[in-house]
Amino acid sequence: MLLTIRSLSKSFPGTRALDAVDFDLAAGEVHALLGENGAGKSTLIKCLTGAYSRDAGEIRLDGAPVSPASTSEAQELGIGTVYQEVNLLPNLTVAQNLTFGREPRRFGLIDGRAQADMAREMLRGYGLDIDVTRDLGSYSVAVQQVVAIARAVALSGKVLILDEPTASLDAAEVRMLFDVVRDLRDRGLGIVFVSHFLDQVFELCDRLTVLRNGQKITTERVADLDRVKLIGHMLGRELDDAIETAEHSPAAAQEAPEILRFEGIGRAGVVAPFDLSVRRGEVIGLAGLLGSGRTESAELLFGVRTAQTGTARDADGPVAHATPREAVRAGFGFAPEDRKTDGIVADLSVRENIILAMQARRGWTRPIPRAEQARLADEYIAKLDIRTSDAEKPIGELSGGNQQKVVLARWLAMNPRFLILDEPTRGIDVGAHAEILRLIRDMTDAGMSMLVISSEFDELVAAADRIVVLRDRRHTRELTGAEVATDEIVRAIAAADPREAAAS
């Protein structure tokens, strides 16, 4: 074995993040590390890379015990890591990034030409034909990802940890990345692959290890395992109830009364004017490729960007929604795509994050009594099954799925009539995924209307009563009834674009 971990334990105040976990990594394999949010994947990786010091247990690399005290020490030992958010410097050139800290020198000064050569040498074999003297930030995330991998491999070269490397890549980019990873595996590296995308795990990995609640559940060969069994391992329960959300009753929603009507909402250079009618208790899906104007449409509706044209009306007349404050007052809610930068307020507690929007609407002069705050927090922690030691824990310390649930709780506590969810399940695990889909169902059954944006079409089909398809910042088609199906969405996106059709 290249890397052997025996009974590794790590505790944080109030939680046991890792409980005597064993893990083996052979040279020349891709080993998936799976588990729900909070299962202990990140903690295990951080112990491996020296970001955390372990409480107990043993890590052996090539048979010798190691205990890296910092990420640079881990790198020197041969353990390199590439994170979802590329942690290189986008304002430096590719070559500078690749040779950072060990630049070739000439008379004490950095030798630019040798540096570029060195960078090209490092990138050879990755199938990447890029100009290494250009800024890293001018390339796509996928290219940056490969550059980060090249750097990690050159520095370390034994164990490569990929922490959700594909979360922000499109299908073609994922394919490119996988070619690189397979090539590295064939060169004899041991690769740890962390991902929420089970398809990718089945496509790429040789073995997988499932963690749950800080414990190792199983390590198996991927070929011997089917998907249902795997999800069972991850959740610790059967999947039946997790996929039950797919059934819905579009017919009922079709006949429900219209509560909101947007007409001609648009902004030059953002989204072309579009109409949208919202019925009571229905889920409208927004589908489209990245950059098609999905998020921008939501932002126009919620007043994050002010619409230049168009009107919104309900049964009582015009509705103002030019700023988020006005939108909130009109009974809208918006859980944004990037919950770290736009959703959570990291240093505030779970309780404060839940009551934040409600407090903002009441105004500063009417504070919500502390007892009422605690009651609301406890109610939603129980209702949404938010995993936290208590309501006073800073939300930044929760896992991604639980943070998302707190952001949802913030809006549900307001009981909005129209809730916009932008990628509500991005970057969260299978279990929380199913719970959030079920929540969407429960809320719409109670009469709330929703607009859901997702790049996972299966998920949209499962959740939505009808789907609006976007292309090139334009609402091009609306799918209703039997048309709500994955292949129909794909066809609508493809057919709507004559240029693309001509090109392919």
């Binding site: 959570i344 307020v345 990291a346 002069t365």
Partner: protein, 340 residues
Amino acid sequence: MTRTLRRILPQILTLAVLVALVSLFFPQFLSVDYQGGRLSGPVIDVLKRGAPVALLAVGMTLVIATRGIDLSVGTIMAITGATAAWALASGWGAAAAVLLALMAGLACGVWNGCLVALIGIQPIVATLILMTSGRGIAQLITEGRILTFTDPGFAWLGSGILLGLPVPVYIWVGTAIAVALLMRRTALGLLVESIGINRSASALAGINATVLLIAVYVASGLCAALAGIIATADIRGADANNAGLWLELDAILAVVIGGNSLLGGRFSVAASVLGAMIIQTIDTGILLAGFPSEYNLVIKAGLVLMVLLVQSPNLAGHWYALRRHVRRRREPAPSDRSAP
């Protein structure tokens, strides 16, 4: 209540240690006399002289909580002091002078707030504008002279006595309590912390971040105006060049000693005014201890550094590691011996 106490405990302990240290060099430090209806003694002196920095620290705490900084407060003291002196010299009376000075402070705060919140200039740059140009405005008001006045009512605000204690003490303590209550008994404190931690998420939750940001700079301007009134009343004159000079830095230091992060978020007004008292105790203590005056600033620098080091969470981690290391060495483990 216990949570508040736990929050300000480090500052209280620091202050206690400092008082003990000063008493070592100047044993009468804690003695208080009662003569002719007024309390006097070094402690009363600290409470009175610390008033301007304590007032500035109250406003500065709020600004820093929003991840901003207000470099212009010392200059606002000069402007408001000059305004008050001008009003008195023009025969307006004490009440009108106070009101006019507060209006000037408010106007300065609105100016800073608009630059930061509406135009989006970085706080340090936005307030630097008023910091450097404001003394010019103050000089225009005083016409380049030191404007003196004799109004006893106004002078009372700086050097008067009420129930045995100097009036400035009531002003800063009252302001600090009023602001702390306003923040914690309403939702303002939470909203201010929220926009300091994550402005865009707060705006999406429906918080009016723009208005709140302007409001904290206005609060800072008003606190500076109070400090300016006290300083002017104390010397019965407005000195546009020297009033409040460099006090913005002492105010920031007080907020930092109060354990508030310059990155915004959680704040404690009580801890900040304790920070101001710590600074004033150091200043007064050095004088009383009788060191040659050329040593004063060096000793102050050393003490401030010590206070900050002791409070540093980073250092606490190192302490812990060091203690563990020492303990481990005392009980030699077999693996340690076998190591080369």
